[in-house]
Every structure is written in C-alpha cells, then in structure tokens.
C-alpha cells in the first residue's frame, strides 16, 4: 500500500516515512505543492498525509483537487494549526482526519491504519492479530472465539497497539492517544499501568499469550511472543 507524505519539512517527512515503511507501507514524499500535484495525478495512494501550509501553495487546494478528480485516497491532515476552526475547515474540505503537530508517530500510525481500514474494507471491518479478532463494527474482541469483556478505553488501547504492532510505544504516546487534550494533567502513568494490566489479564484469562512486552522504562511493544 502506498502512502504519500506531503510535507515541506524534510526531517519530519523522513521520520514519518521510516516509521510507516517498517510496516506494510511504501512511502513517497512530496516536499511542495507542485510535486504533490504531479504525484497525485500519476498514482493512487491508500492514504495521503497532507501538511496544509506548503511553501508554494495551500494543502486545502490539493484536497479540493483530489475531490474533484474523485480519487478515493484517504487524507490525513497534519498541521501546526490546532484551533477548532482549522480542524473543522480541514474536515469539511474532505479530509478524513486531522492531526496537530507535534504528534507521536504511533498516533499517526494508528490514524493512518484507521483511515485505510475505513477506505479499504467498507462493510466487513474485521481486524486480525494472531488469533485475536477485532470486529470494528460491533466493537468486540475475541480470542479463539472467546469474547473478551473490555472497557471502552481497553478496546481503544488494543486497537492502538494492533495498529502499531512490533513497535515500541511510549507511555506518553498512550496517554496522548487515550486522553488527548486532557493528558496534560496525567502526570503519573498510573492510569496506563492499570489499563495495560487489566487488558493483559483479560487476554491471558482467555488463554492468549502475553502480547505486551515491557521495554525498560520507555513503554510497551505489542508482539507475538
């Protein structure tokens, strides 16, 4: 699956590319409006990461052009503009999601994953990891046909980890994902420990192996052991 990163900041584009490429994605970079338009005209992308402030144009115009050409590419806006109006404007212009800088790469990964899921499997939204099956419509998780009784946060957490499988996810990134704007008061990570502990326990009780691997003081990695 191909992903186009329209971002003038080369270092950031590189990071995103490296992160996404380690998964199943082929990344292409477009540092400006002109290059981006050319690439869009020539290729089909599963997802386009779009910075709306570009040196030679406005990202929203690219978005409008995509809609005009009726391309089905999913678009995720990445912007330094974080006001509600900017977000609303971006989403109304046809973007699928809006992420403000600075973001965590796993957060970006999860969002890209979600966009592609929505775009590619419309209807039968089922996600598999090892023998875990997540029904995205029903919002249920089963392990070997056994239903896990998860809370909303635990479900979100599991999706986040599956979307970033085999990657180290920091506690900060988890905080950011689960609580968003409210995270600035979560100075202790107790809530995360509790959530991970419960999620682990529920999966182990259903007979699953311990998919969570603790990485020193940094965070966790979701892998098939």
């Amino acid at each position: 699956m191909k992903v186009l990163i329209i971002e003038d900041e080369e270092e950031l584009a590189d990071s995103i590319c490296t992160y996404l490429a380690s998964e199943k994605f082929i990344c292409e970079k477009a540092p400006d409006y002109q290059t981006a338009m050319e690439k869009i005209a020539l290729n089909e992308y599963a997802c386009i990461l779009l910075d709306i402030t570009l040196p030679d144009g406005n990202g929203i115009d690219i978005l409008k052009e995509l809609k005009r050409q009726e391309k089905i590419d999913g678009v995720l806006i990445i912007s330094a503009k974080n006001s509600l109006d900017d977000k609303v404007y971006g989403l109304k212009s046809g973007a699928d999601d809006y992420l403000t800088k600075p973001f965590h790469l796993p957060e970006l990964g999860a969002r890209v994953d979600a966009i592609i899921r929505r775009k590619s499997f419309d209807g039968k939204n089922v996600l598999r990891f090892d023998e875990l099956v997540v029904d995205l419509n029903e919002k249920t998780v089963t392990f070997q046909m056994q239903l896990l009784d998860l809370t909303r946060k635990e479900y979100e957490l599991l999706l986040y980890f599956i979307g970033n499988k085999n990657k180290v996810i920091t506690k900060n990134a988890i905080l950011n994902h689960l609580w968003g704007d409210n995270m600035d008061m979560m100075y202790n990570y107790d809530a995360i420990y509790t959530h991970i502990k419960n999620l682990r326990k529920k999966m182990v009780q259903a007979g699953a192996p311990d998919y969570f691997k603790t990485v020193y003081g940094l965070g966790y990695k979701f892998i098939i052991p």
Partner: protein
C-alpha cells in the same frame, strides 16, 4: 478633594480678605475725604466771619443753621493756632447730642479778642459712610456668590473634556483593538493631554501587538522542530539495541519535549484568546457540559480514589464553546492535580456561578499571584504555571470573574458570571 472645590475655597478666602482690606481702606479714605470736606466748610465759615468783622467791625449775629453751631466768647488773649477736633455737642435743632467737627479760632473786634467756635455735625457723614459700606458689603456678597456659581458651572464645563478623557481611558483595555474616543477640545492644555495620551496608548498598543505576534509566531515556529525531535525520538526507541542507560536518556528527552509542547500549546492558547480568536459565542447548556467533563475525568478520579460530588442546576450561559471546554478542563484538572489520593472534589453549579472545591495542600495559594503567568505554588511542580492564567483570561474575555478562596486544606475556585 476636587480641583475646583479646592480652587473655590482658596478663591473665596482670598476674595474675602481682599474685600475686607479694600473695605477698610475705602472706609478710611471716605472718612478722610468727608472730614476734609467739613474742615473746608469750617474754614469757609471762618473766612466769612473774618470778612464780616473786617467789613462791619463787629461780630455777625449767629444764625441758627441746621447741623451748624457758631459761638463766640470774649477772651483776654488770642489763641495761637486754629484746631480741628471732633467733639460731642448739643444740637439745638435735633434736640440731642451729636458728633460735631469743630474749629476754634480767635479774632479781634475793636480791640476785644473773641474765641470763635464753629462746628458742623458729622451726622450726615456717618450716614453716608454707613450707606456706602452697606452698598459695598452687598456688592461683595453678591460678587462672591456670583463667582462661586460661575466657578462651579464654568469650571465644571471647562473640565468636562478632562473627565471625558478619564472616563474613556478608564474603559480602555490594552489589546482589545478598541478606538479611544477622545473628543478633540479647543482648550490647548487638554488637547495636549489628549494627544499625549493618544500617542502613548498607540505606542503601547502597537508594542503589545508586536509582543503578542511574537509569542504566536514563536509558538508556531516551535511546533515544527518539536515535531521533528519527537518523531526522531519515536524512531530512536524502535531500535532494539538501546541500552538501559540510553533508554533512560531517551525517556528524559521525551519528558522535556512533552513539557515544552504543553508550554507551547498553553502560550498559543493564551495568545489566541488575547487576539480575540474565540469571539463567537453560543448558548451553552453548562449542566450538560459539566456532566460530560465529569464523565471524562471519572476514570482519572477513580485511579486516585478521589471522591467527587456534584450539585448541578440547569443553567445555560452565553460563551465561546471551545473556551467553555478549556475552562472546565483547566478547572477540573487543577482540582485533580493539586489533590491527594483519597481526597475530595465538590462541584456546584448555581444560577450565577460555578464553584469547584477541592482538598489539597495545607497552605493557601498566593491570592495576588495565582492568576499571573508562570506562578507556581511549588517551584518544582510539574505544571507550567499557565493553567490558572488561562482560566483568568477566559473569564476576562467572557465577562466572568474568577475568585480563589482558601480554608485550611480546602481550595475553592468560583467562576461568577
């Protein structure tokens, strides 16, 4: 004391003193002039007698004239000088004693010396002086009264531009982008004041905008490097070969980035509020909003075993929706952050205020400083010291007041609208 009141007092006092002095001098001169007049009359009388004696060689018959007494008594030798004196004499006409001006001189008639006394009543003079004084006094009183009234009215009108300027200056808030409606006046001093004030304000305003713009630009420019650093760290930790020491360093770097990011977001938010980017207001069901927030925070409170109670009335207010979110978020996270495990939080929503009470530190926050930027009750605290100033700023733009109160171990924040 008001300027014109003080001016009036001084003015009145000096006027009275001047009038008193003037009246005394006036009185003195009038008396002097009138007495001189009588003395002249007496001298004419003397000359008349002398001419009569020279012509007829005998003394004239004294004719009784009103207010005038002439007597002659034979004396052995002439009196050296003629003298003018005031004395009390019997006035045959008015049948009573009166003040007289008299003149005594001697004259020789056929070898016999006579002492002649000529006197004129001062009664008329006194009457005249009295009348003059009365007129002067009435004039003085009327003039004082008139000056007082004129001062009051005229000064008030004259100072009007000054008070107008003061009024609009008082309502002026830096950064509100409002025009100062100082009306031009035709009084040079006020016009100078107006121009100076206008210039000062314009300068302050432009510098304020430059500063705000700087903050906003700086915050915006910081986003990209922050995003790069964070993404590089995210990549770095994917490296399997990280040692424990390296992991710790990466973790510290993460925390620092996190702090910087929060600080940046807060500064941006403050600047945006100041730049009136949240002017759109809508009717907000506050009860519903608080309940939504409570649901969001519930998990957090469960974790810290904080007991939360809420008494919420059905209230709608008019404010910016986004700011309402931030306000509630900040208030609730504030009450959570400065709490302890097993503490309490109570939320009351009433017709005109929202009150959030929480258990916490056994010392009061500095009421003077809490709403200032970067104020921290504990220096090492994890907060960036902007949360409360954001609350204050939101209250300011929404026309609310934020009040902090402290009782031992209990902190209260009240938002009144």
């Amino acid at each position: 004391m008001k300027l014109f009141q003080r001016y009036n007092r001084v003015n009145l006092l000096i006027t009275i003193v001047i009038f008193l002095l003037a009246s005394f001098t006036f009185h003195y001169f009038i008396v002097h002039v009138l007495v001189k007049q009588i003395d002249d009359d007496l001298e004419i009388e003397q000359r008349e007698i002398q001419t009569y004696v020279k012509k007829y060689n005998r003394l004239p018959e004294p004719i009784p004239v009103r207010d005038q007494v002439i007597t002659h008594t034979p004396i052995p030798a002439p009196i050296k000088e003629q003298t003018f004196t005031s004395t009390t004499l019997f006035d045959s006409l008015s049948n009573g004693n009166g003040i007289f001006r008299q003149m005594v001189f001697s004259i020789n008639v056929n070898g016999q010396w006579y002492k002649i006394l000529v006197a004129k009543s001062e009664e008329d003079t006194d009457d005249l002086i009295e009348e003059i004084l009365l007129i002067v006094l009435t004039t003085v009183i009327f003039m004082l009264l008139a000056s007082f009234i004129i001062n009051r009215i005229v000064l008030k009108r004259l100072w009007n531009p000054f008070y107008n300027m003061l009024e609009s200056f008082n309502q002026f808030r830096l950064g509100k982008k409002q025009e100062l409606n100082f009306k031009p006046t035709d009084i040079d001093e006020f016009e100078l004041l107006r121009k100076t004030m206008q210039q000062t304000i314009n300068k302050a305003e432009s510098e304020y905008h430059i500063l705000k713009e700087f903050t906003e630009n700086a915050s915006h420019e910081m986003q990209t490097p922050l995003a790069i650093i964070r993404s590089k760290l995210d990549l770095l930790i994917q490296d399997e070969a990280l040692s424990e020491t390296q992991s710790k360093m990466v973790q510290s770097a993460y925390s620092a980035i996190e702090k910087l990011n929060r600080l940046n977001q807060s500064l941006l938010l403050l600047t945006k509020i100041e730049n009136s980017q949240f002017e759109k207001v809508s009717v907000i069901n506050l009860k519903q909003k608080v309940e939504e927030k409570l649901a969001e925070f519930l998990e957090l409170w469960d974790n810290q075993q904080v007991l939360v109670t809420a008494e919420l009335k059905e209230i709608t207010i008019l404010m910016n929706n986004e700011l309402a979110d931030v306000l509630l978020n900040n208030l609730l996270s504030n009450a959570t952050r400065h709490n302890y495990t097993g503490g309490r939080i109570a939320i009351f929503l009433d017709a005109d205020h929202l009150r959030i009470v929480n258990s916490g530190n056994r010392h009061s926050l500095d009421e003077e400083k809490i709403f200032q930027r970067f104020y921290k009750s504990v220096q090492s605290s994890e907060s960036n010291g902007l949360g409360l100033s954001i609350i204050k700023q939101i209250c300011d733009v929404s026309g609310f007041t934020a009040i902090y109160g402290y009782e031992p171990g209990i902190h209260t924040f009240i938002i009144r609208w």
